[in-house]
Symmetry: C2
Subunit: 339 residues, 2 copies
Amino acid sequence: MNITLKPTPEIILTGDRATGPLHLGHYVGSLKQRVFLQSQHEQTILVADMQGLTDNAHNPAKVSSNILNVVADYLAVGINTEQTTICLQSQLPALAELTMYYSNLVSIARLERNPTVKAEIQSKGFERAIPAGFLTYPISQAADITAFNATLIPVGDDQLPMLEQTNEIVRKINHLANKKVLNECRPLLSNAPRLPSTDGKNKMSKTMGNTINLGASEKEISAAVKAMYTDPNHLRVQDPGQVEGNIVFTYLDAFHSDKDYVEQLKSQYRRGGLGDGTTKKILEECLQSLLGPIRNKRAEYLNDKAQLMAILKQGSQAAKEKTEKTLFDVKAVFGLNIL
Amino acid sequence: MNITLKPTPEIILTGDRATGPLHLGHYVGSLKQRVFLQSQHEQTILVADMQGLTDNAHNPAKVSSNILNVVADYLAVGINTEQTTICLQSQLPALAELTMYYSNLVSIARLERNPTVKAEIQSKGFERAIPAGFLTYPISQAADITAFNATLIPVGDDQLPMLEQTNEIVRKINHLANKKVLNECRPLLSNAPRLPSTDGKNKMSKTMGNTINLGASEKEISAAVKAMYTDPNHLRVQDPGQVEGNIVFTYLDAFHSDKDYVEQLKSQYRRGGLGDGTTKKILEECLQSLLGPIRNKRAEYLNDKAQLMAILKQGSQAAKEKTEKTLFDVKAVFGLNIL
């Protein structure tokens, strides 16, 4: 007799900094997976507006203007509020309070050793002018994760140092309490490779114009695919072309549903006889049919901002109760529930 | 016609880290002044338990066990809850939230330049193992001060760098908002010189046993005065003695109500003919009569912990409303009151 066991549900926390609309990189890197995970696990998505401010405090509109966009992005790709709690970081005071308590357990030297933060400081040119909130954001992430008592965190490998930091804090709290108060968390590494930008060179960024947003118009999609980086040595259709590093093929791999067909195209391209115009046309059709319905749903949601706000408010209320429970437990460790 | 104008009431924030019972140093340095100020100004006293944890996270009982002691100290010296709001820092989530927002406006380099924090890091031997919460506590203090929109802060001169940091943050917020959202604050420098420890050498500290707590027993007061540092060269009663650096005289200056009498004693001591036994006896009588009623009231309050907790709860509730109003205003600057 075979019994099919349902996997034990995990508590999943995931989220995005609300610093811009989401794009295809988010779609393959995390959103698709979240839609899959929500049916089997207890999933919370945190719209991280406070974290978004850690390097945008002097341009806060970059964050505030994107909060509802990001929520619309979630709903448009199929995040279901019956299955997933969507909440707003700045609506959850317990996260700031936990950050304060945890800050006493992490040294400045430890924060400065975090390789991801180190790389970000370098790439942003902060050096010693780094805002305190930016250097300490791994503590704030630990607060987010533990506030929900999350057990499984979908991450790219650059985020592994954050989970290490989180688990260090968890162990310190549990050690101080002399019992298990908080869960350690495990990473759920995405099996999708990181989607490159359309120019094939730079990191995806709105200002570089090298992304395709989920809400991109038909024209924008068409223009982005036309400008996409291919094989610069593939000058004539009949010439053999290179598939590796050819962004059109990277995107076909990521988005085309017929994998065999993509393999055939690759062979033909390598042999010669397949032009970039044709591959781009195939990719454009694929992306138009993927993004068309998403764009429409997204626009519908954004047309009814009151509904989006209600969704975010309801999710945040549910999250508030959970996170305050954890805060209570952590304050108990420090003996501070005296009133 | 003479009109006596009342001074414009100031919003005063003051407080203590709850890391030990208060002692005579607090009495002359701040408590007496608070009792005076409360009748003319809007005064809030913050029991800073969260700040107490910034360098005691691994020994949290040092903080939690002292919260009610400190409240009893306040009430025993004459702080009147009709005139002064006594509140507990960890009961005010807005303080942690404001700290998070302000952290994005202050660089690590700026924090490391704070001369008081620098000196404390050195004296505590933290070096790079300094907890993040300790390096950033001036930001948390700025959150405390601005949350109440305080205009006047009673401080010792070692705390002036904290007010400078606070006003820098205030100016940044007001600049971002393009209008006045927060008040800058001014220091109210204590005119009482810092009371030395009874040993005349070390900083006052419970572990050094060189303080006289407000709740000290008759015997403890007597023993502390007997062990007090005087003039080590004043060996025989008839010898001339030195008043400067003689802790018995420093305490007589600070606590004896009859200043002329103290001056007479000083002359006699300088001339010779006044023994340390006599000066100590005079000081002991003075301190016994000062601390007797305080000790009794303190014990009464501590006998009714439920009442102390009710006082702290009520004060914290009033403070919560004020601080959340400020949080709302600051979140508005960052565009985050969308829900």
